[in-house]
Amino acid sequence: MSCNCTGKTLDLAPLMDILAPYKQNPKGALIPVLQHAQDVYGYLPQEVLEAIASELNIPVAEVFGVVTFYAQFHLTPRGKNIIRICQGTACHVRGAKTILEAVCSHLGVKAGETTPDLNFTIETVACLGACGLAPVMMVNDNTHGRLTPSDIPGILDSYLD
């Protein structure tokens, strides 16, 4: 089954392998199937969710509801580098908003979005547990603290290969 909405077709064979063990007993299968499918595809494209819904016999609206409820699932492709910008209280009072703005304007996309070249995804988080370094952002597993907006272009460019 392919989907005519994105224009490109996706190989659903790996998904069918993931689904195979659950088809007899689809109870409780949804979350593990979604996790596994996201590992394989990098995110959860619409055609994958539609196929999961029809194979497990769950309404596609319900699948969508579950995917959007949990922060771990992503409906859009994710960048190679994940930027997580703290908007917690400590960071907030030290100008986290200006950091977010600097990142967004440098990359030309909004929070929650991925750059068209798939290099970066911007996310916001509530507290990174490094309040002493506020304002803080993480790129992948690296913490960058005591940021000013002018630091941003240099830091981000260092992640480009």
Binding site: M1, C3, N4, C5, Q46, L49, E50, A51, A53, S54, P59, V60, A61, E62, V63, F64, G65, T68, F69, L75
Partner: protein, 581 residues
């Protein structure tokens, strides 16, 4: 009496059946606890907490819509603490709600507005901080305004439990939480049938009928147009409700006179076309049974059902009767037979229909339904929209004199009128098929076995010893799904003829009818149609003199070549953007 319990609510002694909720028990003594997520025709969920009450000994407030009343319980529905909690809950809802009452389609009959007003909330202390959400204008039948959604979940429940279609789900979290079709798509992009049942249960203006009243006003004011209207059976038993009438009041005469005052050139009866449908569909059935055609044959007059089968069971399309719905048959005859007889240019005719149904608006858009070269139906108004127009025209509906439909498409039999209730099409068809097969009239004329609100009804009808037909009747699309699964499984009950209506109760409870929280409404409206039938001089479709004249002067025989061309249609698999159900 061990199955009764006694408790106290607001100081009053209440004796209620065991198993009642606090809400139900309170109702017995005239206490209406406010509710929002609760709907009498749906499974209670206890989501909104607006109905919270204080129960002596309970650790926290209990939601009256799900908490069971127990022996000796002491309940307070409006003590100061309860009122404060309830006010707070409603204020939070209002904070995240557009302050749009003055220009809202539901103003005056919105449950949120009523609850807030009854609580005396005159100021909202919290700040609006919900993200902006777009209107869903993806289809010709329903408009969704997610900003007015209070996340009560009634649409989610009616669509999955009653309609077996599961279009909606709760999605996202916190401030972003919303009730939406998959992928935030519009109803027109997913497998929605446009039955409108979600609109019927929505407490607010979040789901409303897509209004076509302006198009009708424009046509009425256009001197070049001849605007003619037909009215479905179920409209006459519901149209008085927005004017203070009771569900089940029968106001055919006032409805006709209101339509004349609005300026329609002719006012006709869909019941006439329902009789015509019986002639065509009944003849088709007899043909299929005697000549070995595809069985079981399933009725095709409910457009929500047609959408459902085209979307979900395209392998069963050959089981559908090819007869058009009464709405489309009427339009086809208006633009051919009537136009010819009256010497009117069909291109000047605007064919308007008043329907209890939102899906009829979609039917009117089907290109295959334009046998005369012009669309069978130009504009569909729901009962609710007609009431709106009557109000705009300052007409005192209940004070109107009773008037008669216009000839030659205005006579309807009792069989035509019961089309509006589940089982009615079946009963009407049997009345006529009996005469055709047996040669004499069926006595008694009533077919009690197919009446009533049970989800799936079955009967074996004996035609004077000549043939026995096994029939089934389903209403509500969840029941339709069960019937489809049985047909796929080889039709184990050996059904010959099946009536299916998309809406629970049939058209009387259609998605375009006035909204009403009384659980008895479908029953009362159906009873009114059966009363109408019993009181009419002609109660069998084949005895309708104006339908007989149509065959004599224009169509020839039922299922004639001409009848096929103008009154029958075909179906196709629908695929929307979002594929799975």
């Amino acid at each position: 009496m061990s199955d009764m319990i006694t408790l106290t609510i607001d100081g009053q002694k209440v004796t209620a059946p065991a198993g009642s909720t606090i809400l139900e028990a309170a109702k017995l003594v005239g206490i209406d606890v406010p509710t929002l997520c609760h709907h009498p025709l749906l499974r209670p969920e206890g989501a909104c907490r607006v109905c919270v009450c204080k129960v002596t000994g309970a650790r926290s407030f209990l939601p009256a819509c799900i908490a069971k009343a127990t022996e000796g319980m002491e309940v307070f529905t409006h003590d100061p603490e309860v009122l404060e909690a309830r006010k707070n809950i409603v204020e939070l809802l209002l904070a995240n709600h557009p302050q749009d009452c003055l220009a809202c389609a539901r103003s005056g009959n919105c449950e949120l507005q009523t609850v807030a007003n009854n609580l005396g909330i005159r100021k909202v202390r919290y700040e609006y901080n919900r993200p902006e959400m777009e209107l869903d204008l993806s289809n010709p039948c329903l408009v969704r305004d997610p900003a007015k959604c209070i996340l009560c979940g009634r649409c989610v429940r009616v669509c999955s439990e009653v309609q077996g279609t599961s279009i909606y789900s709760f999605a996202y979290r916190g401030l972003n939480a919303r009730v939406t079709p998959a992928f935030n798509m519009g109803l027109g992009e997913v497998s929605c049938t446009f039955c409108g049942q979600c609109r019927k249960v929505c407490p607010t203006g979040a789901i409303t009928v897509r209004s076509d009243t302006q198009r009708v006003w424009d046509a009425l004011r256009d001197p070049d147009k001849i605007v003619m209207v037909q009215t479905a059976p179920s409209v006459r038993v519901a149209i008085s409700e927005p004017f203070g009438g009771k569900p089940g009041d029968l106001n055919t005469g006032q409805m006709v006179s209101a339509l004349r005052r609005l300026g329609f050139d002719k006012v006709f009866d869909t019941n006439w076309a329902a009789d015509l449908t019986i002639m065509e569909e009944g003849t088709e059935l007899i043909g299929r049974v005697t000549k070995g055609g595809k069985l079981p044959m399933i009725t095709s007059c409910s457009p929500g059902w047609i959408n459902f089968i085209e979307l979900n069971y395209p392998d069963l399309l050959d089981n559908l009767s090819t007869a058009k719905s009464p709405q489309s048959m009427f339009g086809a005859m208006l633009k051919t037979y009537y136009a010819k007889k009256q010497g009117i240019d069909p291109s000047k005719i605007v064919s308007v229909s008043i329907m209890p149904c939102t899906a009829k608006k979609f039917e009117a858009f089907r290109r295959e339904l334009s046998a005369s070269g012009y669309p069978d139906t130009d504009i569909v108004l729901t009962t609710t929209e007609l009431a709106q127009m009557i109000k705009e025209a300052n007409i005192n509906f209940l004070g109107l004199p009773e008037e008669q439909f216009d000839p030659i498409m205005g006579e309807g039999s009792g069989a035509g009128t019961i089309f509006g209730a589940t089982g009615g099409v079946m009963e009407a068809a049997v009345r006529t098929a009996y005469k055709v097969i047996v040669g004499e009239e069926m006595e008694p004329i009533e077919l009690e076995a197919v009446r009533g609100l049970e989800g799936i009804k079955e009967a074996s009808v004996d035609f004077g010893g000549k043939v026995t037909l096994n029939v089934a009747i389903a209403h509500g699309l969840a029941n339709a799904r069960k019937v489809c699964e049985l047909i796929r499984a080889g039709n184990p009950h050996n059904w010959h003829f099946i009536e299916i209506m998309a809406c629970p109760g049939g058209c009387i409870n259609g998605g375009g009818q006035p909204v009403n929280m009384d659980a008895d409404t479908p029953r009362l409206r159906a009873e009114a149609l059966y009363r109408d039938d019993a009181g009419l001089p002609v109660r069998r479709s084949h005895e309708n003199a104006e339908v007989q004249a149509l065959y004599r002067e224009f169509l020839g025989e039922p299922n004639s070549h001409k009848a096929h061309e103008l009154l029958h249609t075909h179906y196709y698999r629908q695929s929307r953007i979002c594929k799975s159900k």
